[in-house]
């Protein structure tokens, strides 16, 4: 490690599964240090058995989300200077999902709910068909595009209180995904997706608390997508028009 550090940073890291404890480590505080850098430094220099998850380190893959000082964040793009409180970082796994070990949690229920919300794309054409023309300025396409860049990090799912109160609630990410498909002219099961998104545990369970939108690291708005689903469930799916 470089010796470019300016003092020490105290890091409290969750060790164990549902039952466990916080272990305290001291690591060099460095300029431009991300929370993921800190976790990696702890794992490499002090606690080789520490379990955590990451892949791309650049905010694309959505693997490294953890709870940092009580709020879910993508740790590879979260600078320590922005989130430490009195020089202390407290790092836990995401909430609302079973814990596997230390900072890694099991995302199975999160992705199962994507399926339950009708999040699987159903093709209406094969690769031999001509490309389907989509008007990029049409209202449904704009709505889909505004919500499409989800990186599946589960930060919104972890931030949502309704998920923690109601285990059957599909959660913001799955419903956001459903909303993109309801607006996608190439999706062959738009009405089925809408029905699933409005079924028990679906969009009607959202209390519009807004934790998801406030915490989404890529600044999507699952709250708005869910509001769109609620409107569509009452007034019908968005009307699709052929491009001129």
């Amino acid at each position: 490690m470089n010796s470019d550090h300016v003092g020490l940073l105290t890091v409290r890291v969750w060790r164990g599964r549902e039952e466990g404890r916080f272990e305290t480590y001291r690591v060099p505080a460095r300029a431009n240090q991300t929370v993921l850098d800190v976790v990696t430094e702890v794992q490499r220099s002090q606690e080789p058995a520490l379990a955590y998850r990451f892949a791309c380190r650049v905010g694309v893959c959505g693997s490294c989300a953890m709870t940092v000082n009580d709020r879910p964040r993508w740790t590879c793009r979260t600078h320590v200077a922005r989130v430490r409180e009195e020089g202390i970082l407290t790092i836990e796994p995401l909430r609302n999902m079973p814990r596997i070990k230390d900072l890694a949690c099991d995302l199975t229920p999160f992705f199962e709910k994507w399926q339950k919300a009708g999040g699987r794309h159903v093709a209406t054409a094969s690769r031999r068909d001509p490309l389907q023309k989509i008007d990029p300025r049409s209202k449904p396409r704009l709505a889909a595009s505004a919500a499409i860049e989800c990186i599946n990090c589960a930060v919104c799912y972890s931030a949502c209180d309704v998920v923690s109160w109601n285990a059957g609630y599909l959660g913001p990410a799955a419903l956001n995904r459903a909303w993109t498909l309801v607006n996608d002219a190439r999706h062959g099961a738009r009405h089925e997706t809408l029905d699933r998104a409005f079924a028990d545990g679906g969009c009607a369970s959202c209390h519009s608390q807004g934790n998801c939108t406030r915490h989404c690291p890529v600044e999507l708005s699952p709250s708005e997508s869910i509001a769109g689903l609620k409107r569509s469930a009452l007034f019908g799916a968005p009307k699709l028009r052929e491009p001129a």
């Binding site: 009580d70 209180d161 519009s208 807004g210 934790n211 708005e224």
Partner: protein, 115 residues
């Protein structure tokens, strides 16, 4: 408050839901009081004298404010669920503080009429 929840949208949710719960608890008592009229004027008059006590009047003011808060925050919920948003990340946040202020104004009007 937990850092996860310390934002306007969540506070509006709390205000709307908790005021709704308080009103739900109040309504059976309200109907019970009205029902006293069926038992004769004496029973109702006894309750009305009780209702004039300062503490009960203060509670009544609280109920009026809660009712107004529930109304204004409920209008915001309807707006954010049924109308397009000003921007993707703005669930009518600008309605929250004026909604709370309007509820206090209603409370003030009640206070002026009572005192």
């Amino acid at each position: 408050m937990h850092p996860l929840r310390g934002h306007r949208s969540y506070l509006a949710f709390l205000g709307h839901r908790l005021s709704g719960l308080a009103l739900a608890v109040f309504l059976p008592c309200h109907f019970l009081a009205l029902g006293l009229a069926l038992e004769g004027a004496e029973a109702l008059d006894r309750f009305l004298i009780f209702a004039e006590l300062p503490l009960v009047k203060a509670a009544e003011w609280g109920l009026v404010v809660l009712l107004a808060l529930h109304l204004f925050f409920g209008l915001r919920v309807l707006a954010l669920e049924f109308t397009p948003w000003p921007s993707r990340t703005d669930p009518r946040l600008a309605w929250i503080v004026p909604g709370g202020a309007a509820a206090l104004v209603v409370g003030l009007v009640f206070l002026v009429q009572v005192v």
